[in-house]
Assembly symmetry: C3
Amino acid sequence: MPQGAVYCFAALARMIILLTDFGLEGPYMGQMKAVLYRKAPGIPIVDLFADLPAFNPRVAAYLLPAYINEFPEGSVFLCVVDPGVGSTRRPVVIYADERWFVGPDNGLFNIVCKRAHELHRWVITSKPREISASFHGRDLFAPVAARLALGEDVSGKLLDSSKNPWTSWPDDLFEVIYFDHYGNAMTGVRACQLERNHRLVIKKQVISFARTFSAARPLEPFWYENSNGLVEVALREGDVSKVLSLKIGDRLKVLKQDT
Amino acid sequence: MPQGAVYCFAALARMIILLTDFGLEGPYMGQMKAVLYRKAPGIPIVDLFADLPAFNPRVAAYLLPAYINEFPEGSVFLCVVDPGVGSTRRPVVIYADERWFVGPDNGLFNIVCKRAHELHRWVITSKPREISASFHGRDLFAPVAARLALGEDVSGKLLDSSKNPWTSWPDDLFEVIYFDHYGNAMTGVRACQLERNHRLVIKKQVISFARTFSAARPLEPFWYENSNGLVEVALREGDVSKVLSLKIGDRLKVLKQDT
Amino acid sequence: MPQGAVYCFAALARMIILLTDFGLEGPYMGQMKAVLYRKAPGIPIVDLFADLPAFNPRVAAYLLPAYINEFPEGSVFLCVVDPGVGSTRRPVVIYADERWFVGPDNGLFNIVCKRAHELHRWVITSKPREISASFHGRDLFAPVAARLALGEDVSGKLLDSSKNPWTSWPDDLFEVIYFDHYGNAMTGVRACQLERNHRLVIKKQVISFARTFSAARPLEPFWYENSNGLVEVALREGDVSKVLSLKIGDRLKVLKQDT
């Protein structure tokens, strides 16, 4: 009984966090969660993103590290942006700075790996008895995430740490990587990389910094440090993605302040 | 052990209900829920609205009281429509008729307060160690909601009950305040304020009452008492918001029946 | 105490799965889940579909059986596509091959019934104390689903097994029945009914089989067996629903291969 209690407590300290491009619509998130509820009962599951830009692991790679640290150590991030599902791309488990990541080895974890202090990577070698050709999120990744969340072993082959596919990737991505519900445009740039007097250029529009929405001028696009540390282009009580006709991948330039 | 059991039982009787304009897309609801799972483990969390009209606490104020009573006493409503986040608007906790409310003091709770029989209001004075400028839902309001749900104290300063910002607000709002998935238009009017033979005018269209969708005529907009007691403008198996080009804030008039 | 543990274990083995046309937006899914959390605490709830085609139980009938088997025996499917709510359509409970179904008797369960080996059907005769005219999902079906998930009795009247409304329904529906987030078009046809060399015609476009997305040619619509066994029309990294202007109910023809 004390063991049970201890186990329960440990389990509650863990969490499985879902990041996918599956969409809010449709059955896919629910199907993955059903697997998790069965295989890791009692572990809280957080839908963080179901609307990552579709088929685009490159931009998701820059979003992901901004959303890691607020989750407790031991958290398991189940990440699926997987246009190559059913091809030869490898399924991986990554341990980076006390947190676990499960998903396809297609660049999605490159920036998490690049910024990690402690890093271990494995190719998943366990094979589920039944696996569909198109939904490894449900059939392979979710069961592995459940095992990790429970502290159970997963069969894997350690990847050679001298070959790191991310070495050629930039530290920050000066592009639009995500739009939120309000139309705000998150970028792949950490705000700590910029000075507050830096102005940015996007779609030929020059924009300045504001600390908060209420500090910004109406009708005037601005940039600010969002609540997860990314440079975000926004408009006070308006939709900047429409006003500037922004799309994923649009480039951002820094206009250094005259001094 | 009996204490543990008692605690669990009490916890299950409570619930945290989320109402925001954060959108279904994106990380914000998930980030708030992750805080709640950690700080109030075992408490059920209900996503009630993630799609309240953006930046519009005034219409949300009339939606909120219609959705309170079906939740058990002791429930905590975590409500965030917060265009002034980062400005001087105050964070509040409200106790109204056995239920708790947490959110910004920008009018969002005015109608809940106006209709309450027992009412207490506090400005939240506790300060989280880390607080972002733009996401008080995660950094301030969610931790407070978790404490309330657990029956723990929150530091606050009681507000003067003689100064009530809602005294000038009408009892009912004769406007469209929300569209659901089908395009039905909820209004800020309680159906108990109207007679069934009252006809309404919206966008120059005169509409009559029908008890249910199946009682309404196809292609003919009607009004009915929705399942939460509000006057709702609808169309049988159709989208009245498109057919009448409705938008949030469109006005409703009552055409009193000749007798 | 051991009894408590046993009860918990049994409860965890069960699940309530929600399939509706209520939309992701708005309060309806949350309101149903609040009822389930209260009446069946601890039972996992899975949002499988909130976006079934609106007012269309006929197409949902062909989607539903494809999504049953991955859920454990004893699962309760709470299914609400209910354009006739408030009319005389009957509320039913169905037991089919170790799983439970609750919802309106409007054809939604016809294909589940048609394919079942063991089948029992009841009209629900219990009446909730308070029931709205338009939201039986919350007021009637959710409480019944909670009781079934807990293994409790529900008052019902067994339906005559000799009168089966589905006898005239086809085994498979050669129509588009659902679009997912990517714009892929699920059909009411089980892939096991076709040969891999069968070509299909939809909107005058002839399409061939591909095993996976990565095996398909870019820009060329194809069909494949989706991860739930249905024939799905898709496009590699594109939106086939837009490219072919598809809509729910569009017909599919099989062009048998010359041999």
